[in-house]
Symmetry: C2
Subunit: 329 residues, 2 copies
């Protein structure tokens, strides 16, 4: 049995793009009701430090500490560590701000001490003033690798060092098969009080699918009591940000809203797209609702409006399902 007016919202998110909608959700959903499950497939070890880019982007965004000038990293940041590291010949292709660095050092120290990434993430998020809960998809290491025309590359080598220039032939989520969702992720997805699961407009290939590759999560989403709604990261054949369109093209999937819907179709109750993509998706004849909305989030209002729209779509779907199930019974 689901509760009559379920309150809990779970969002699946990668970094920048997903965090925008997560921020919108955080402004209209009570903090204690919102959980964001974060991709850790692009976590990596660098300079001896454990770096979790998507978790940190979510933390900084939800704490209002994101760097809006740069569009990534932390606000009020300084770069003296990088300057000094460069001076002594250290690896400088991945920029680590002085403040940001503290998070990596503390996380690495606690992980080395045997603590779970979930616990560490929660403690740091609380300390930074994050109100909703951010959960790593798993406490186990899952690492995305890119098979490319320049060989097999750890994700951040492809993404940051080589600036997404290599042509992608395949993606691999090393460690995914033997990974487990944390008990917190399992509990969030099987909560009877679940109002909606939102798949944020993140890159499906490298942000959402690593989450879905953790055994049990895909099934948990398919079986959860709430509507699952995805927002397309592709609008009119283009990605708003990042290499999503380029990767979809190179893998022969096609950079269309329909192609993204295909990736999620076993999971969805609703799919939110913008502009002409609506007709294409309707024409595709999916067994789930296609909804139209403004999905480009430039302002804080845009983020909040999309969050409101997505939740209202979920609520509508749930009430229709309830009516249908009453009609059947």
């Amino acid at each position: 049995m689901t509760t009559a007016n379920p309150s809990k919202v779970v969002a699946l998110s990668g970094g920048i793009g997903g965090a925008k909608l997560a921020l919108g959700l955080s402004r209209i959903v009570p903090s204690e009701d919102l959980t964001v499950i974060a991709n850790t497939g692009d976590d990596f070890e660098h300079l001896g430090l454990l770096i979790s880019p998507d978790i940190d982007t979510l933390k900084y965004t939800l704490a209002g500490l994101d760097n809006r000038e740069l569009g990534w990293g932390r606000c009020d940041e300084s770069w003296n560590f990088m300057a000094a590291l460069r001076e002594v010949g250290g690896d400088d292709w991945f920029n680590l701000g002085d403040r940001d660095l503290a998070i990596h050092v503390e996380r690495t120290r606690r992980r080395a001490g045997g603590e779970r990434l979930t616990t560490i993430t929660q403690d740091i998020a609380v300390a930074l003033g994050v109100k909703p809960r951010i959960l790593p998809m798993s406490d186990d290491n899952v690492r995305t690798f890119v098979e490319s025309d320049q060989g097999r590359l750890p994700f951040q080598d492809y993404f940051v060092r080589l600036k997404c220039a290599p042509i992608v032939k395949a993606l691999e989520f090393v460690g995914a098969e033997s990974s487990k969702p944390s008990k917190e992720v399992e509990a969030a997805l099987s909560d009877r009080d679940l109002r909606a699961v939102i798949i944020c407009p993140s890159n499906p290939l490298i942000s959402i699918e690593p989450i879905l590759a953790v055994p049990g999560i895909r099934v948990a989403l398919a079986n959860c009591t709430a509507p699952v709604i995805a927002v397309s990261p592709i609008i009119g054949g283009r990605a708003i940000k990042g290499p999503t369109a380029k990767m979809l093209d190179e893998l022969g999937i096609g950079a269309t809203a329909v192609a993204v819907a295909d990736r999620y179709q076993d999971l969805l109750d609703g799919y939110v797209v913008e502009g002409d993509d609506y007709e294409d998706c309707v024409a595709a004849g999916y067994p789930f609702a296609i909804e139209q909305a403004e999905t480009i989030m430039k302002s804080l209002d845009d983020r909040e409006n999309l969050a409101r729209t997505v939740l209202s779509i979920a609520d509508n779907i749930r009430s229709q399902q309830t009516l249908q199930s009453r009609a059947v019974s």
Copy 2:
């Protein structure tokens, strides 16, 4: 056989106090002729990083990058890492500046990769613009522990966290017995072209004696072809800086220039003291030369003058020894 006009100078040094004389030496000895052997007994692992305080103080001082306002650490430093670390509840008793941190991260990464501390130290020093050679006393870990009225403490816990407040009962150099001097240290001390070995006015107990505790170094000093000259870190019963006097008192050694000379007496050809300490040392009847000089180094000129005095004392002793050996033969 020694060479007629030997040119090489080796200094043994801890951090701040010793680095002052090392800087003075570096201004009058050609860079290629000066080697500073640094104490690594107060190295420690903190936040997952390998920190080598004395090596870094020497690097920064000899590169002109020392922080003269603070009296420790690196110039043009910022503290955003520490502020962010404090915010997330990290260990904040040991201050790590943003630029300084880069040295620790790079050293830790390279040590973890199996490189020797000697090689890493040399590369970083060169990159920072240090001209003389800085050699860790050993590539093996030696760690100073303080037996105190508050229990057995790792050195930096005693020194920084507890601000030298505990009463010292004994000192232990863990790992010293099984450590080896590096081949570079061995070569420096057995060089036939050695002009002088200078024991800088560092704390004998925690800066110089860990160096002497590395098997082979004490014997190499006793057997080396050059005069060994120590500068007393105690003047009129007081230490110029740091806990030297307090520690000598607590251990019942006594905070006097004579008590320090006693620690080194098997090694010395000359001992440099200031003021009334001269009479005391002469009265002690040591079999080595006692010399008087201004040993407090406030200005750069003071550093250079003391370095010049110490080298001239060494040169005098060597020519007398040469005369004596000619008289004997």
